[in-house]
Protein backbone atom coordinates (compact mmCIF):
# COMPACT_ATOMS: atom_id res chain seq x y z
CA UNK A 1 0.00 0.00 0.00
CA UNK A 2 1.44 3.36 -0.97
CA UNK A 3 2.00 6.29 1.34
CA UNK A 4 -0.70 8.28 -0.50
CA UNK A 5 -3.26 5.51 0.05
CA UNK A 6 -2.45 5.34 3.77
CA UNK A 7 -2.82 9.13 4.08
CA UNK A 8 -6.15 9.04 2.23
CA UNK A 9 -7.49 6.31 4.54
CA UNK A 10 -6.35 8.20 7.65
CA UNK A 11 -7.98 11.40 6.38
CA UNK A 12 -11.22 9.54 5.64
CA UNK A 13 -11.24 7.99 9.12
CA UNK A 14 -10.68 11.36 10.75
CA UNK A 15 -13.41 12.96 8.62
CA UNK A 16 -15.83 10.21 9.72
CA UNK A 17 -14.86 10.80 13.34
CA UNK A 18 -15.40 14.56 12.91
CA UNK A 19 -18.79 14.15 11.24
CA UNK A 20 -19.84 11.99 14.21
CA UNK A 21 -18.70 14.66 16.68
CA UNK A 22 -20.64 17.38 14.88
CA UNK A 23 -23.94 15.58 15.47
CA UNK A 24 -24.02 16.66 19.10
CA UNK A 25 -24.13 20.12 20.59
CA UNK A 26 -22.59 19.66 24.03
CA UNK A 27 -22.72 22.55 26.49
CA UNK A 28 -19.97 22.90 29.06
CA UNK A 29 -19.32 24.47 32.46
CA UNK A 30 -15.68 25.17 31.67
CA UNK A 31 -16.01 28.97 31.68
CA UNK A 32 -17.88 28.88 35.01
CA UNK A 33 -15.32 26.52 36.59
CA UNK A 34 -12.47 28.65 35.29
CA UNK A 35 -13.94 31.81 36.76
CA UNK A 36 -14.42 30.09 40.13
CA UNK A 37 -10.76 29.10 40.18
CA UNK A 38 -9.57 32.41 38.64
CA UNK A 39 -7.92 30.60 35.75
CA UNK A 40 -7.26 32.05 32.32
CA UNK A 41 -7.97 30.08 29.14
CA UNK A 42 -4.23 30.09 28.48
CA UNK A 43 -3.46 28.51 31.87
CA UNK A 44 -6.13 25.84 31.46
CA UNK A 45 -4.98 25.08 27.90
CA UNK A 46 -1.38 24.74 29.07
CA UNK A 47 -2.39 22.41 31.89
CA UNK A 48 -4.52 20.07 29.76
CA UNK A 49 -2.19 20.06 26.75
CA UNK A 50 -4.15 22.04 24.23
CA UNK A 51 -4.32 25.59 22.89
CA UNK A 52 -6.20 28.67 24.10
CA UNK A 53 -8.17 28.74 20.84
CA UNK A 54 -9.43 25.20 21.44
CA UNK A 55 -10.60 26.08 24.96
CA UNK A 56 -12.40 29.14 23.53
CA UNK A 57 -14.09 27.03 20.86
CA UNK A 58 -15.21 24.42 23.41
CA UNK A 59 -16.55 27.12 25.74
CA UNK A 60 -18.63 28.81 23.04
CA UNK A 61 -19.83 25.46 21.69
CA UNK A 62 -18.16 25.70 18.30
CA UNK A 63 -16.08 22.59 18.90
CA UNK A 64 -16.80 19.38 20.78
CA UNK A 65 -13.84 18.05 22.74
CA UNK A 66 -12.68 14.49 22.23
CA UNK A 67 -13.20 11.99 25.05
CA UNK A 68 -9.51 12.23 25.97
CA UNK A 69 -9.54 16.03 26.18
CA UNK A 70 -12.88 16.05 28.03
CA UNK A 71 -11.39 13.61 30.55
CA UNK A 72 -8.27 15.76 30.98
CA UNK A 73 -10.34 18.91 31.57
CA UNK A 74 -12.67 17.19 34.04
CA UNK A 75 -9.71 15.57 35.80
CA UNK A 76 -7.98 18.96 36.05
CA UNK A 77 -11.02 20.42 37.83
CA UNK A 78 -11.30 17.28 40.00
CA UNK A 79 -14.77 16.47 38.65
CA UNK A 80 -16.42 13.75 36.60
CA UNK A 81 -16.86 14.36 32.84
CA UNK A 82 -20.65 14.67 33.18
CA UNK A 83 -20.15 17.42 35.81
CA UNK A 84 -18.23 19.54 33.30
CA UNK A 85 -20.00 18.61 30.06
CA UNK A 86 -23.76 18.63 29.68
CA UNK A 87 -24.91 15.50 27.86
CA UNK A 88 -28.63 16.14 28.29
CA UNK A 89 -29.11 16.64 24.51
CA UNK A 90 -27.70 13.17 23.91
CA UNK A 91 -29.74 11.67 26.77
CA UNK A 92 -32.94 13.17 25.24
CA UNK A 93 -32.28 11.33 21.99
CA UNK A 94 -32.49 8.03 23.87
CA UNK A 95 -30.12 5.09 23.82
CA UNK A 96 -30.70 1.35 23.80
CA UNK A 97 -29.66 -0.03 27.16
Amino acid sequence: MTFLNVSAILNAKLALHLSYLEVFDIKTRIRELRKERKLSQEQLAYAVGTTRQTITSIEVGKYTASLALAYKIAHYFGLAIEDVFDFSDIDDEGTDQ
Partner: protein
Protein backbone atom coordinates in the same frame (compact mmCIF):
# COMPACT_ATOMS: atom_id res chain seq x y z
CA UNK B 1 4.87 11.73 24.89
CA UNK B 2 7.11 13.32 27.46
CA UNK B 3 9.05 16.50 26.79
CA UNK B 4 12.43 14.72 26.63
CA UNK B 5 11.18 12.64 23.74
CA UNK B 6 9.76 15.74 22.05
CA UNK B 7 13.16 17.44 22.45
CA UNK B 8 14.74 14.52 20.59
CA UNK B 9 12.10 14.87 17.84
CA UNK B 10 12.90 18.58 17.47
CA UNK B 11 16.65 17.89 17.40
CA UNK B 12 16.12 15.28 14.68
CA UNK B 13 14.07 17.80 12.71
CA UNK B 14 16.86 20.36 13.11
CA UNK B 15 19.38 17.92 11.63
CA UNK B 16 17.11 17.27 8.62
CA UNK B 17 16.40 20.99 8.16
CA UNK B 18 20.13 21.84 8.39
CA UNK B 19 20.86 19.27 5.67
CA UNK B 20 18.12 20.75 3.49
CA UNK B 21 19.46 24.29 4.03
CA UNK B 22 22.89 23.06 2.93
CA UNK B 23 21.36 21.49 -0.20
CA UNK B 24 19.50 24.74 -1.01
CA UNK B 25 22.64 26.84 -0.46
CA UNK B 26 24.64 24.37 -2.57
CA UNK B 27 22.12 24.70 -5.41
CA UNK B 28 22.24 28.49 -5.17
CA UNK B 29 26.05 28.55 -5.23
CA UNK B 30 26.05 26.20 -8.25
CA UNK B 31 23.47 28.32 -10.05
CA UNK B 32 25.45 31.49 -9.36
CA UNK B 33 28.95 30.37 -10.35
CA UNK B 34 28.97 27.15 -12.35
CA UNK B 35 25.66 26.90 -14.19
CA UNK B 36 25.91 27.37 -17.99
CA UNK B 37 24.56 30.65 -19.37
CA UNK B 38 21.89 28.88 -21.47
CA UNK B 39 20.46 27.43 -18.25
CA UNK B 40 20.71 30.72 -16.35
CA UNK B 41 18.50 32.47 -18.89
CA UNK B 42 15.61 30.00 -18.64
CA UNK B 43 12.48 30.78 -16.61
CA UNK B 44 12.43 27.30 -15.06
CA UNK B 45 15.93 27.75 -13.69
CA UNK B 46 15.03 31.16 -12.26
CA UNK B 47 12.01 29.56 -10.61
CA UNK B 48 14.21 26.85 -9.10
CA UNK B 49 16.58 29.48 -7.73
CA UNK B 50 13.68 31.37 -6.19
CA UNK B 51 12.32 28.16 -4.69
CA UNK B 52 15.73 27.22 -3.25
CA UNK B 53 16.21 30.72 -1.78
CA UNK B 54 12.77 30.83 -0.17
CA UNK B 55 13.14 27.23 1.05
CA UNK B 56 16.48 28.04 2.66
CA UNK B 57 15.03 31.14 4.34
CA UNK B 58 11.98 29.30 5.70
CA UNK B 59 14.09 26.41 6.98
CA UNK B 60 16.59 28.81 8.58
CA UNK B 61 13.69 30.56 10.32
CA UNK B 62 12.39 27.21 11.61
CA UNK B 63 15.87 26.26 12.82
CA UNK B 64 16.10 29.55 14.72
CA UNK B 65 12.61 28.98 16.16
CA UNK B 66 13.46 25.43 17.31
CA UNK B 67 16.71 26.69 18.91
CA UNK B 68 14.72 29.18 20.98
CA UNK B 69 12.08 26.58 21.86
CA UNK B 70 14.68 24.06 23.03
CA UNK B 71 16.16 26.55 25.48
CA UNK B 72 12.83 27.28 27.20
CA UNK B 73 10.68 24.56 28.82
CA UNK B 74 7.47 26.64 28.73
CA UNK B 75 7.86 27.41 25.03
CA UNK B 76 8.66 23.75 24.40
CA UNK B 77 5.47 22.61 26.10
CA UNK B 78 3.40 25.29 24.32
CA UNK B 79 4.82 24.28 20.96
CA UNK B 80 4.10 20.62 21.73
CA UNK B 81 0.52 21.52 22.66
CA UNK B 82 0.19 23.57 19.47
CA UNK B 83 1.48 20.77 17.26
CA UNK B 84 -0.69 18.12 18.90
CA UNK B 85 -3.83 20.18 19.41
CA UNK B 86 -6.82 18.07 18.37
CA UNK B 87 -8.82 21.03 16.99
CA UNK B 88 -5.89 22.12 14.83
CA UNK B 89 -5.54 18.55 13.57
CA UNK B 90 -9.27 18.44 12.80
CA UNK B 91 -9.11 21.77 10.92
CA UNK B 92 -6.10 20.57 8.92
CA UNK B 93 -7.80 17.28 8.06
CA UNK B 94 -10.93 19.08 6.89
CA UNK B 95 -8.89 21.50 4.78
CA UNK B 96 -7.16 18.56 3.09
CA UNK B 97 -3.78 18.42 4.82
CA UNK B 98 -1.46 16.67 4.25
CA UNK B 99 -2.68 15.36 0.89
CA UNK B 100 -3.02 18.80 -0.74
CA UNK B 101 0.51 19.75 0.31
CA UNK B 102 1.94 16.45 -0.97
CA UNK B 103 0.07 16.74 -4.28
CA UNK B 104 1.07 20.40 -4.69
CA UNK B 105 4.74 19.53 -4.12
CA UNK B 106 4.45 16.72 -6.67
CA UNK B 107 2.88 19.16 -9.16
CA UNK B 108 5.70 21.66 -8.59
CA UNK B 109 8.28 18.91 -9.03
CA UNK B 110 6.60 17.67 -12.21
CA UNK B 111 6.34 21.28 -13.43
CA UNK B 112 10.06 21.88 -12.88
CA UNK B 113 10.99 18.74 -14.82
CA UNK B 114 8.45 19.40 -17.59
CA UNK B 115 9.63 23.02 -17.80
CA UNK B 116 12.87 21.97 -19.49
CA UNK B 117 10.82 20.60 -22.39
CA UNK B 118 7.74 22.84 -22.51
CA UNK B 119 7.27 26.19 -20.73
CA UNK B 120 3.47 26.14 -21.06
CA UNK B 121 3.22 22.82 -19.20
CA UNK B 122 5.49 24.27 -16.52
CA UNK B 123 3.27 27.34 -16.07
CA UNK B 124 0.07 25.27 -15.99
CA UNK B 125 1.40 22.82 -13.39
CA UNK B 126 2.73 25.59 -11.15
CA UNK B 127 -0.58 27.49 -11.46
CA UNK B 128 -2.50 24.31 -10.56
CA UNK B 129 -0.29 23.75 -7.51
CA UNK B 130 -0.73 27.37 -6.40
CA UNK B 131 -4.50 27.24 -6.86
CA UNK B 132 -4.66 24.02 -4.86
CA UNK B 133 -2.64 25.53 -2.01
CA UNK B 134 -4.70 28.75 -1.98
CA UNK B 135 -7.91 26.70 -1.83
CA UNK B 136 -6.47 24.70 1.06
CA UNK B 137 -5.46 27.85 2.96
CA UNK B 138 -8.89 29.42 2.33
CA UNK B 139 -10.60 26.30 3.68
CA UNK B 140 -8.31 26.28 6.70
CA UNK B 141 -9.15 29.91 7.47
CA UNK B 142 -12.86 29.16 7.05
CA UNK B 143 -12.74 26.21 9.45
CA UNK B 144 -10.63 28.19 11.93
CA UNK B 145 -13.52 30.66 12.09
CA UNK B 146 -16.30 28.09 12.31
CA UNK B 147 -14.73 25.45 14.56
Amino acid sequence: MNMDHYKKVLKRRMVVFSALVLVCVGLLVYSQFWAPDTLKNSAVFAFQRGLASSGALILAFLLFKYCRILSDETKLRKNYNQENDERTKAIRAKAGYPMVVILSLLLVLAGMIAGYFNTTVFAVLIAAALFQMFACVALKLYYMKTM
